[in-house]
Structures are given as C-alpha cells and as structure tokens.
C-alpha cells in the first residue's frame, strides 16, 4: 500500500513544467495542423499557421482544465472547433464583411471543407492531446478507469449495434459505416469489415467515454456526438485515405454521404444506449441489488417515478408543441404517423405519443439536469435524437419498410425538427420541476442529500460541449447538405 502511494506521489511531474509544455504543445499542434490543412481552411499558409496557433492557444486557455481525459478532451475539442467555424469563417467574418444574408447559407456550404478541417485537424488532435495531458496531470480523486471493461463492454456494444444494419447490408448492400470505401466483390468480406469497424468504434467509445457517461440518456447523447464525429473521421477522411483516393471534404461529397451520416448517428445512438445498458445492468444486478448498498428507494421506485413524471412532462410538451404544429398543419406528422389521422384523432394520437416519448425521457435522462440551464439542453438533445430515430428512421420503416436517409428527405423533415426541439425543451423543463418537487421532500432527510448530489451531473464535465456539438451539427448538417 505504501509502495502504491509513493508511486502515485511520484507520477505527476512538476506543475511548472506542465504549465509550459501544454500551451506550447497546443500552439504548435494547432499551427502544424492548420498548415497541413490550409487548402481546406481556405487561407494562405501564413494566415493558416497564425490561425492554428491562436486556435490552439485559446483552446488551451479555455478548455485545458476541463479536458481531464482523452474522451473529455475530444468532446471539448469538437465542440470548440465547431463553434469557432460557425463564429469565424462562416459567421462573424461574413457578417462583418457585409455578406448579404441571402447568400450566407451558400457561402457556409462552400466553407464545409473548413468545417471538416476544424473538426478533424484542429479539434480532434488538440482535444485528445490536451486530454492525455489532463489525465496525467489532474490531481485529486478521479473515477476509476477499467481498461478491460471499457474495451469489452464497448466492443460488445459496438458489435451489437452493428447488427442493426445487417438487413440492409445483406439485402441492399448498404454499409453505412463503410461509406467512402470502394466495395469489394465479396459480401462476406464487406460484412466482416463492417463488424470490424463497428467493434473499433464501440471499443474506442468505451475507452474514451467510460468515465463521462452517467446514464442511458447521456450515453445516447455521447453516442450521437460520437456518431457524427465518426462520419467526419471515417467516411469523409480515413477511408478515402486508406483506399488511396484523395480526400474530398466538399459539401457535395457530404451530401452524397448523407445517408451514411444518418447511419452513423443511428449507430451512435444504439451504441450509446447498449453501452450504458450493459454498464448499468452490471451495476444494478450485482452492485445495487446487494443489501449492503441498498438505498431508501429501490430501482423499481425510481423507474416508476421516472415513467410517471416523464409521461406527464411529455404530455405537457406535446400540448405546448401542439399550437405551433396545428398552425402549420403538420400535427399528424409530428407524431410520425402520416396524414391518416386528421383532426381530434390526430391530436389525441399526438398527445399519447408525446406521453410515451416523455416516459423514455424520464427513464433516460433522470438526474442529468440539475437546473434549467442544464435540463433544457438535454431536452433539446433528446428532441434531436427522436427526430433522427422517429421521423427519419422508425416511422418510414414501420409504414413503408424502408428508411429514406437521403439529404433531401432530411431537408423535407426539417420543420418537424423545430417541433421536436420545442417538445424536448418543454418536456425537460416540466420533468425538472417534478424532480425538484420530489427532491424537496427527499432532501429533508440529510442522509439523502449527499446521495442526490452524487447522482447529479457536476460542473466541469464535457456535457456543454456535447450539447453544442450535437445540437449544432445535428441541426446544421441537414440544413447545409439538404
């Protein structure tokens, strides 16, 4: 034991050295990456280097303390780089240049390669590097990381999630995770490669985010973000490189690969939920069920409360979203049930569906938002998830047997996304109010206070960066590429 303590005490190097190494590494890496991708960033070499160095410096200054693991660093890096792209090349610079509002969208579309460059060349390497530094340097107690659990659970979840596409793989020779790779003649080779990639993504998910994900809902959020990231990294970048084709980061290529993006998002969502499901099941079956760890309310009570509050919150969310949707005449489509249920019947079905979806929010996102400023973004992420899962995938699958994942189909469903975001925000708000009301009682007993605090997501996790990355790109990509 003493030996262990001495090892731990000797491991972190002097903070003074780290104080210099980290910003220097960030500046150097930013400058180098920007120089490497100057063509995609659309700037002269000198400007690219300066921009990259400044990017690295600002990222280190703003996010280095938050990037305490490679996974956290990656999420902060992706969120920061997406924000920088939106604010600088696509937004502020255009606004200050006096670019006409009417051409800003086409201008942003033209700068799609810069978006990929920001994410892949700047955000990803800087985030992971500072995350590694952070993991080595961070003092204080940290959550225990289990390599074996991360790889096994992540790999298993990844492979199981890959099975979702098996029908399309065999019937339509559609391999969403392998977009960008020239198809080989053997179907079995493609299938094997598909599962290899699925395993790789799943294992990397476990390795990167084991300590970040807390519940099923946040894990789905992480899966959503990771799916989007892998689309940029895999089909748009890595696979063309591996197959010897040149990298094409144009918006047209993005539009062509839009179906793969949806595939990656759906894969990420399923990966997230299976990963957290296996992880939670382990905790529930073998740890929480131990009488020594018994809590005043068992898991059954928690689940029931979450379902009840979620149903009520979802119902209110559905009611709140109804006027907007009625005014625009798309109410039946919000429930994703086609146009066969007009009038009051459509409204009832919409409300019933809202309540059921609200129940899933209760189950997935309880204890994620401790305040409105945290609960509402999770609600919006939930709305976005349901847009990809519901109108984009499940509803067409149920009614037609096929899911249309083309950019045009996503573009046509954009109005529903507005409704889903609104629904998610209201549902999260009502759920938070119900949760708080109950906690008012619970916290009267001091024994419960510490436990409830532990359940809540603390400040400092990469959740805000994930909200922005997922909401921004989840919404922006159908707008840009549709």
């Amino acid at each position: 034991m003493q030996q262990k303590e001495s090892v731990v005490a000797q491991t972190p190097p002097s903070p003074r050295i780290w104080g210099w190494i980290e910003p220097c590494a960030a500046v150097f890496m930013g400058a180098f990456a920007a120089a490497l991708g100057r063509a995609q960033l659309g700037a002269t070499p000198a400007r690219s280097v300066i921009f990259g160095a400044l990017f690295g410096l600002f990222f280190w200054w703003g996010c280095s303390k938050r990037a305490d693991s490679p996974g956290a660093g990656l999420v902060w890096g992706l969120g920061f780089s997406a924000l920088m792209w939106l604010l600088i090349p696509a937004g502020t610079v255009r606004l200050l240049n006096g670019t006409q509002h009417s051409i800003m969208l086409s201008d942003a579309r033209a700068r799609f390669p810069a978006l990929v460059g920001h994410l892949i060349l700047l955000g990803m390497p800087l985030g992971i590097t500072l995350g590694i530094f952070g993991a080595v340097r961070s003092p204080g107690p940290k959550q225990t990381f289990h390599w074996g659990r991360a790889i096994v659970v992540g790999g298993l979840a990844g492979t199981l999630s890959g099975l979702v596409f098996s029908r399309w793989m065999y019937e339509g020779r559609f391999y969403p995770l392998l977009a960008g790779i020239p198809e080989v003649s053997s179907r079995s080779e493609m299938a094997a490669f598909h599962f290899l990639v699925a395993l790789l993504i799943g294992a990397s998910f476990g390795l990167l985010f084991q300590t970040g994900v807390r519940g099923l809902g946040s894990s789905m959020g992480w899966g959503l973000g990771f799916g989007i990231f892998w689309w940029f990294f895999g089909p748009l970048t890595l696979f063309p490189l591996l197959s010897g084709n040149g990298i094409d980061w144009s918006a047209d290529k993005g539009t062509a690969l839009f179906g793969s993006l949806i595939g990656h998002i759906i894969y990420g969502l399923i990966l997230g939920v299976i990963y957290a499901g296996i992880d939670r099941a382990w905790v529930r079956l073998f740890i929480q069920s131990d009488p020594l760890n018994r809590q005043p309310e068992g898991p059954g009570v928690h689940i029931l409360q979450s379902l009840g509050w979620g149903a009520l919150a979802g119902l209110v969310g559905g009611v709140a979203a109804s006027p907007v949707l009625l005014a625009t005449g798309v109410l039946p489509r919000v429930a994703g049930l086609g146009s066969g249920f007009p009038g009051v019947t459509g409204l009832i079905i919409h409300l019933a569906t809202s309540a059921v979806i609200g129940m899933t929010y209760g189950l997935l996102f309880r204890n994620e938002g401790s305040s409105l400023s945290a609960g509402v973004p999770w609600g919006c992420v939930f709305g976005l998830i349901w847009w990809y899962l519901g109108p984009m995938t499940m509803v067409p699958l149920i009614f037609t047997g096929e899911a249309d994942w083309r950019a045009n189909a996503a573009s046509a469903l954009l109005p529903l996304l507005i409704g889903q975001l609104f629904y998610g925000a209201v549902t999260a708000t009502i759920f938070l109010l119900l949760e708080r009301r109950y906690q008012g009682w619970l916290l009267l007993d001091p024994r419960n206070s510490a436990r409830e605090q532990l359940r809540m997501r603390p400040v400092g996790t990469p959740a805000p960066a994930l909200w922005f990355f997922a909401l921004c790109l989840g919404m922006l990509l159908p707008i840009l590429l549709g």
Partner: protein
C-alpha cells in the same frame, strides 16, 4: 396589522424561513441583474441579425436575465458557459426566429426547409449572442464574487420545527392522513409529522381473508409504513394514554417486559386520533378466551395454521366422532369479514383434502353463525340471498337468527343449541380502541369520539379524529358514516386538508362523501358487487358471479399500496391458478 406582520416574521425566523427567503431573493436579484447586463452587452449580435434592432436588444436582455436566474453559477466556468450559451441559442433560434417572430409579424411561420434555411443568418446571430453572453455572464459573476463575496449559500442547518403533528394509528385512516399531510406541507421544515402505530406496516384488510385461506403470502398484503412515508417520523409503540391538558401522548414499548424502559412522552400541537377498533365480546369472557380474532395479519396467520393443525390431527384420529370438532370451523358474524372468511376457509379446507387421504369431503364443515335473518346487511337483500345460496352450494352451512352465548373447549354454545368445534373465529363486533374510552371527550353510544363536520373534536382545540374510532356524520346528508376503509380514506383527505388549513388560517372543509358501493368475495371466482352509479348516487348497479369477482380483484389490486406489493399479489394469484394452496405450517405466535 404591524404586530401581525411581526408575528409572522418571528414565526418565519424561528423556522429559518425568513432568512431562507431573503437569501433566495438576494441570490435571484444578483443573478438576474448580472444576466440582464451580460445579455445587454451580448445583444448587438442579435440586433444585427434578427430584424428590428430594438427587438434584438430586448430579447438579448430578457433572455440573459432568465438564463442567469436559472443558472447555478460556478467559479471560472468560462468554457462551460461559452458552450452552454451557444447550445441553448440553437433551440431559441428555432423557436423565436423561425416560429414566433413571423407569427407576431402576422405572417405564417417559415414552415418549410427553404423557409428555415432563409433564417440561417439569424442562427449565426443567435450562436454569437449565446457564446458571448455565456462568457460575459461568467466574467461578471466572477467579478461580483470578487467585489461582494460569494452568493449567500442556502442554509444547511435544520431549524427546530414549530408545529408538531402527531397521528395515532397506522391503519388506513392514519396512514392516509400522514400521506396527505406530506403532500400538503411539502418540504415545509417548520412542520413535523409523527405517526405512532403498534405495527410497522399498513395492513390491507380487504385481502386478509385470502391470507387465512392460504391464497396470499401474509407479508404481501402489508405495506411498510417507514418505506411508504417520506418525511413522517414513524414510531412503533403502543399508545398508553393521552393528556389533553398538557398536550402530550404517552407511549409504551411493544416488547413485553420492556414497557417502562421504552415509555416516552410525545408532545403535540395537533393530534389526530386514528386508533381504529378492537374486537368486542360483550359479556362473553370464555368466547374471548377461545375464539380467534380476525383483525390483524397475525390473526390471519394463526387461523391458517390452526386449520392445517386441525387437519393434521384429524388425519391421525381414527375415531370419526372425535374428528367432527376438529373438522368443523365456525365463523361468528355475517358481515363482510365473516362471509369472506367463511368462503375462503371453505375453499381452503376443501382444497387441501387432497393431501389428507384419510379424511372425507362430507366430514369438513364450515358454519357461519349470524344473529339476523340475512347475511351481508350492507348489501341489498337480493345480493345477500345470492351470496347465501352460492355459499350453501359450495358447502358452507348457515345458522341464521342464532346468537353465540358461550364457548367451551370443543363446544360452541348458541342460543339454539351447540356446535362441536375446535375452531371459532369472531367477526361479530368491534368497539373503539380502549384509549378512546379513557378520553374525557364526548362519545356516541358505541364509544366512538364525536367529531364535528370538520372532523375536529369540538371540546378540544387541535384534536381531530377519524376512522373506526370516530363517530363521523356526513355534513350533507346528516347520516352517520359507516366505519369502513372507503370512508376512512376520504375522511383522511378532508382531515389533512383541514389541519393544514387550520395551521395556515384558511377556512376548513366539511366532510361529505357518497359511498362508491361495496364488493364481497364469497368463494372461488364468485363475488357480489353493488356499485353506486356516478352522478346518480341514489341508484346502484348490482353484479354477481365471475364478473363481480374480477371487479373485486381488479379494484382491490389497484388499491393495494405500492407497486411491489401489487406485483407480488398478482404473482400469488397466478400461482394459485396452477398449483394447490400451500399447507406448510409456519410459526404460530399465539
């Protein structure tokens, strides 16, 4: 007026409420002011992109205030606020720029992909606003901390409660009163609720006969009081006395021999009497000595074990005459409890015959003794007749207009003869708890405490009563309310509401409730039901047979407290469909 405010403030101060509210207000003002200022500074991004500049400015300021007020600030969380602000700006863009602003401008919202794309520049403005606001708000919050110190933290000290509400009795009435008070008082720490009960669980009495009949596991029909109540202090003890003058309740321990050591006094400001009733054996000490009660879970367990014991002894008994008292089971009382128990025992006794090959079916007798000419007086005559006919078909014997006068070992004496039986279960009468008898308050002829229309004891301030120990009169009809669980639950709702209203100085409600009807199981998959028609309370619908039995099970399963218990009971019922009833003898506590 001023003294009233001072009094209120003093009361609040005592509970810590005043300082808590002031701290909360200070925090809100500080956060909102910072948010408004930060929103104002960030709003040019909106003013530049979403149309009339003054509208952008207004949105920027208002949303800044709202966001900051809902945020729990953390020190130097610049990156978090940068991202959170930018993330929240995306749904705000979709709600305000895409939907709300066109509607307020009298136009249809841009409800198409192209229409949404036309608002792309506004999205830039919103994200810019959100990001800038997040950073400025954090900076100003940190600056405020440097200038004025950190925000006042919510007090963690728990002030002493100023009002103590004590509920005596953990039956339907007491438990429901505690639950309703918890709902009404929410997290008000100035109120302290205590529930005193001799048992630590609420017994769901409608299913008690099924425990005696070995259909259900005993613990499955009891809900633990400690787990069911969130903020009520539970005390398992016997009430030894109540001092209405000094306002305290004297408790004694349940453990035999430890009464003195466990004695304690509990002071109260509001006292709720929900002590229920106990079996009453008027002038029949021998009957009291020999008969089984049928009020508690232990009573039901004892009856079940005793029946099995009788079968075991009868199986070893070669003399047919000596087997008669062993296999004769007498239930005294033809009300709901007696009829349901007789039906359950009849099914149980005949069902387990298969395990006792030396006993014949015609040797087993279940006899119901009732002092009147028809059973189930709470139901209509036709249903009473139906119940009797059905039960007779299933083998139950009836001795109507027969009064039980005495009992000796192996003999039960009626006014019209004797029955040879080793088993007598008494369900024929109850009387309010002995503690009530000792109280110096007005009572009715049965010994129940008289309460007014608000369920308060008129002669004693701050003392309330309900359930079987109280003589409650319906405020609308003027009729006495029956001592049933259905009425006790409704009385509890009114009483809790009145206690809360009394404490808050609000007007109280009078008690009125129209019975919903009654259900009674009389044997295997057979029941009687008489339900009041909604909105026409004078009319009733009658069911019998399988439909009524299904209704009984459905309704009472839904009323059983706790999902866990519901699931367990449901499983017991399903198991019963496929497997014989259990004849394992458990420990007899008598």
């Amino acid at each position: 007026m001023r003294s009233g405010v001072d009094h209120l403030r003093k009361g609040w101060d005592k509970a810590g409420w005043y300082s808590k509210a002031m701290n909360q207000m200070r925090r809100s003002i500080r956060r909102t002011s910072i948010g408004i200022l930060a929103g104002g500074l960030a709003s040019p991004a909106l003013a530049f992109t979403i149309g009339p500049w003054n509208l952008g400015l207004l949105f920027g300021i208002a949303l800044g205030g709202i966001y900051a007020a809902s945020l729990r600030p953390a020190s130097r969380a610049y990156a978090d606020n940068l991202m959170a602000g930018a993330a929240l700006s995306i749904p705000l863009w979709s709600l305000i720029s895409v939907v709300a602003l066109p509607i307020f401008a009298g136009q249809a919202p841009a409800w198409s992909a192209e229409g949404i794309r036309a608002h792309f520049p506004a999205l830039m403005g919103w994200v810019l606003y959100g990001a800038i606001f997040g950073v400025i708000n954090q900076g100003m919050s940190d600056w405020a901390t440097t200038l004025w110190g950190p925000e006042a933290e919510p007090s963690t000290a728990t002030p002493a409660p100023i009002t103590r509400i004590v509920i005596l009795g953990g039956g339907f009435a007491g438990m429901k009163t505690a639950q309703c008070l918890e709902e009404l008082l929410k997290s008000d720490i100035s109120m302290h609720i205590t529930l005193v009960s001799e048992t630590n669980a609420l017994l769901f009495t409608p299913m008690l006969a099924e425990v005696a009949g070995s259909s259900l596991e005993p613990s499955h029909i009891s809900a633990p009081l400690r787990s069911s109540l969130r903020r009520t202090e539970f005390v398992r003890a016997r009430t030894a006395g109540i001092d209405l003058e000094k306002r305290f309740v004297l408790l004694e321990g349940i453990t035999p021999g430890a009464a003195l050591a466990e004695s304690r006094e509990i002071p109260y400001d509001q006292l709720v009497l929900a002590l229920g009733a106990v079996p009453n054996y008027p002038g029949m000490p021998k009957v009291e000595e020999l008969a089984f009660n049928f009020k508690s879970l232990i009573d039901a367990i004892r009856i079940r074990n005793h029946v099995i014991e009788m079968f075991e002894r009868a199986d070893r008994e070669p003399d047919a005459a000596r087997r008669v008292p062993l296999l004769t089971f007498v239930v005294a009382g033809g009300g709901f409890a007696g009829v349901e128990l007789a039906g359950a025992l009849n099914d149980f006794a005949h069902g387990i015959l298969a395990d006792y090959p030396h006993l014949r079916r015609d040797e087993v007798r279940v006899v119901l003794v009732h002092a009147h000419d028809r059973i189930l007086p709470e139901l209509s005559e036709s249903l009473g007749h139906y119940a009797r006919t059905k039960m007779e078909e299933r083998g139950v014997e009836f001795r109507l207009n027969a009064r039980l006068t005495d009992a000796r070992p192996g003999i039960i004496v009626l006014n019209e003869g004797e029955i040879r039986s080793e088993t007598l279960v008494w369900t024929a009468g109850t009387t309010p708890s002995p503690i009530i008898k000792a109280l110096n308050v007005e009572k009715d002829k049965h010994g129940a405490v008289k309460v007014n229309a608000y369920l308060a004891i008129s002669s004693q301030a701050c003392v309330w009563a309900l359930g079987d120990c109280a003589a409650v009169t319906d405020a609308k009809s003027g009729k006495p309310c029956p001592p049933t669980a259905q009425f006790a639950l409704r009385e509890a709702v009114t009483l809790a509401s009145n206690v809360a209203a009394h404490l808050a100085g609000r007007p109280m409600k009078t008690f009125h409730f129209d019975s919903l009807g009654a259900l009674c199981v009389i044997g295997h998959q057979t029941a009687c039901a008489e339900l009041t028609v909604p909105f026409a309370r004078t009319r009733a619908v009658r069911f019998s047979g399988l439909l009524a039995w299904l209704m009984w099970r459905g309704i009472y399963l839904s009323k059983l407290p706790g999902l866990e218990r519901k699931i367990r009971v449901l499983f017991d019922w399903i198991v019963e469909l496929f497997f014989p009833r259990d004849i394992v003898q458990t420990i007899d506590l008598k």
